[in-house]
Amino acid sequence: MFDFILSRYNYWIYIILMMIGLYAMIGKKNLIKKIIGMNIFQTAIILFFISTAAKRGGTLPIIEHAHGAHPIQAASYVNPLPHVLMLTAIVVMVSTLGVALAIVIAIYRRYNTLEEDEILNLKR
Amino acid sequence: MEVVYSISPLLAMLASLMGAILILFAGERNRNLREFWTILASVVKFSILSSMAPLILAGKTIEYTIVNICPGVYLQFRVDAFGMIFALLASGLWIAVSIYSIGYMRDLKEHAQTRYFFCFAMAIFGAVGAALSANLLTLYMFYEILTISTFPLVAHKETPDAIKAGRKYLAYLLTGAAFVLFSIGLTYYLTGSLDFVAGGFVGGHGSRNLLRLLFITFMIGFGSKAAVMPIHEWLPSAMIAPTPVSGLLHAVAVVKAGVFCCLRVILYVFGPNLLSDLGIWLILAYFVSFTVIMANLIALTQDNLKRRLAFSTINNLSIIILGAALLSSNAIKGSMIHIPFHGFMKITLFLCAGSIYVKTHKELISEMDGIGRLMPFTMGSFTIGALGLTGIPPVCGFISKWYLCLGAIEAKQLIFLSVFLISALLDAAYFFPIVYGSFFKKPNGMNPRFNEAPLLVVVPIVVTAIFSIIFFVFPNAFLSFFKMATIATHDILGRG
């Protein structure tokens, strides 16, 4: 049992991070807090992906030795694919964040507040 | 049965579709051109249809397939004797009603006439399409086109009452259509086919109770259009529409299409054998008998002429369904010929009502005393129509009622024979006071001088009235309705 928890604790930590982020996204009334939640959520996903790349005993996926000296062992380098995916995902998430902030600015200019319920009151 | 492949059903359909489009293009500015298209389309359509009649009378059917819809179901026309009766009736009366409409609408300076004539053409398109359909899905398509295109006609006056009537019309008919769609889906699920077969095709598929349910949903669906009680309420309300529309609704297209579909389902989907096996025909027969009697009793109490005629229509529609439900050969024949005969007589009556309205703006029977002296042609035609609906010779209504009564005897159902007879008595009871009052009572406050409606209005009335008499003397005159009904009956019963 302890082994089981120990071997997966990293995933669990990210999942807890995700839950925090998700709660902020759907539960908070302040728009900026929602965006912060979104960021936490996305970061948790990035960490989750990266952690799948890990290999015990693996090192950076940069091939050091020259051709032909030893056959290259995949097991001795960590998995490069999740890193690549997350490089893309980080950019995507930053872009989302940027657009979200731009929209928040637009909202603030119109309503002079960032509290969702106050905005709804103003609209009424 | 020999099948002839021919494009003429499609051409007949295109005639009214093109007519409708041309009417739209002509628009309000070119009124004469627009009316010309209306008449031309109706004449072309009728002549194409009647050119097919000889083949039908020779016992053949005409087929034309447009496109596949789903496995085993095509968008397809198949003209058989029964469909031909209805198609000829609808397109033939369209000519009369078009001419009449032109006179009526111009005389009353109605608004939105382009929309009116467009929808009229579309309604006929739908009705004839339903008549020529080879299967339930094609039938449903044209049935819906008919329903939708009639809505603007019902609500034509655009007064709050008219809009309310239009809503009621749609509510009843679209709900009915939902039932129909349900039934068609179920039929396809059970049998994998939707093609009409004389004598029915659903037998042997599904459990008996499922088939009973199917029959009931079919009857609720199509019955809504045929104004079977208790789903008839929309029809009297729809009387608010201009009179030619009421004529179209009652005599030509809409309710007749409902009745036509009911008969299609009874005779070509279920078939007499299956229905008598399921025993459900008796329920249907009692149900419509109730409508037959009730509608006439209500008609007695109506003072508005058009409403009285509306209940008379409800009565006659149920008589037609009752005839088919009796499942005997004479009754089926009688109900089939009652479709066109009632059409001719009822349209005469409605056009008369319109003619009175055009001239005197009167709608209440109690105000019509002595009107026969003003409008002898109109009221003379009215008398012919009334006699016919009561079933008195020498008007064609007698023939159909005679066969219906024979059919009731043949089916050994004397109770339904008495239904026919009582209904005829009641017919007399509410028609003859009108005739009597208009000719023999003194008009109050009216100048009893000859003052007939415009020519375009009167001529169609007289023509349809004369036809009602001709059909008595020669039941096979012109269109051979009687012979077609015989062929259709033979097809249906001959197989079982």
Binding site: T52, L85, T96, A100, E116, K123 | C70, L181, G185
Partner: protein, 493 residues
Amino acid sequence: MSLHSPVLAVVIPLICAFLALLFGWWRKNLCYPITLVALSSSFLASLNTLHTVITTGTIRYHLGNWNPPWGIEYVVDHLNALVLGIISCIILVVGVYSKRSVEQELPEKIVFFYTLYLLLATGLFGIVVTGDMFNLYVFLEIASLAGYALIAIGEDGAPLASFRYVIMGTIGACFYLLGVGYLYIATGSLNMADLSQMLPELYDSRVVLVAFTFFMVGLALKMALFPLHTWLPDAYTHAPSTVSALLAPTMTKVGAYVMIRIMFTVFKPDFSISLFPITSILGWLAAAAILFGSIMALAQVDLKRMLCFVVVAEIGYIGIGVGIANRTALIGAILHIVNDVFMMACLFLAVGAIVYKIGTRNIYRFRYLHRKMPLMMALFVAGGLSVVGIPPLCGFFSKWYLILGAFKADKWIFVAVILVSSLLNAILFFRVIENVYLEPPEAGRSLEEIPTDEAPLSMLLPMFVVVAGIILLGVFSGRIIDVVIQFAIPPSI
């Protein structure tokens, strides 16, 4: 040429987006022609793709010439070739339409508008043709980002609606990405074809179950399936007319396509139908969506908002077809994707034209509209009747297949739901039709005095195309099924 057509369909709008920005800097009115050129070449490429798929079967295109599963692969089979063709057609049509409406509503932002418009098109096309799970995510985000921004520049409430859409959309996309991550942990692959081969052995793995759940929830958010539709009505109501007309037909339908793709290609039908009974849950949710959408639509007086709820209901139709999950119902669902793209485009384009001309969307202020815009209103009625399900307009035929499918699956309650919603739709559209056509004229003012003030040709022409599409799709639905759709359904169903 035909070999490259799927990728050309995606890349041409992308390149032209840069060009539009570049040339737009110099001359503002160059954007519109560039957009049209891009979209029409994209459309031609899609047609070519569709033709190739029909004649020679599935196209596999290896980007950068790396074999899958190592590289990214485009896989175009009958399903996505059809969706690609339809979507590119509508995007082009809306593009043609956009000119006047954008000039009126967003005069200052034409350049950026068209740039984003093309990027949105790129994103949607990319989602449809790709055969790689992660690539799909990237293009999903391109489309979504462009969508967020385009919605945010709408009328008064638009930024807030758009912000909510950002939040919900991001949750959806992140859930999808989580699903990809879980599948990656379980299999090590991102390629759809590769995954579908490896997954059957792992169907009892909890990782795969969770991945599947997250795909479904994420996509349900993206396609606005009840009860996760909450972002849609606000967002599409407040967006500029052209944007709603672009997003309402395409975005949700692409979401539905992805859902079908994942349920029946990445995962095998026996998993989605029996091992993990997502289809029955989906069916019930969709039935609720249909009723909810139709009833909520009844409560609206704003025509556009009403249509937004109709979109929610229409998504339900697709969902119900997928939920019933037999061959007939799936034909209905896919046919409904196709039909719905055209019907929604028709309705939203008409709303755009109404707003352009009279500046209100309140259906009780549509009096005389049939005098002002006779053609536009006639076309609107055609679209409305199609949604109601009047044959021979296309909306009927997908309903017909859905009803047949429901009968075959013995789900009579779904038949009832579909029929009831047709009636509710009838009330909806006849209410509008009544207000347009039958409102009695004001006292002392005859109808003849009201001048005709028809929408410009650049709006009418697209409407004609769309309505022609609605009629032709209806009449030839049997043919479309024979040639394309029947091959789009996995043979094991």
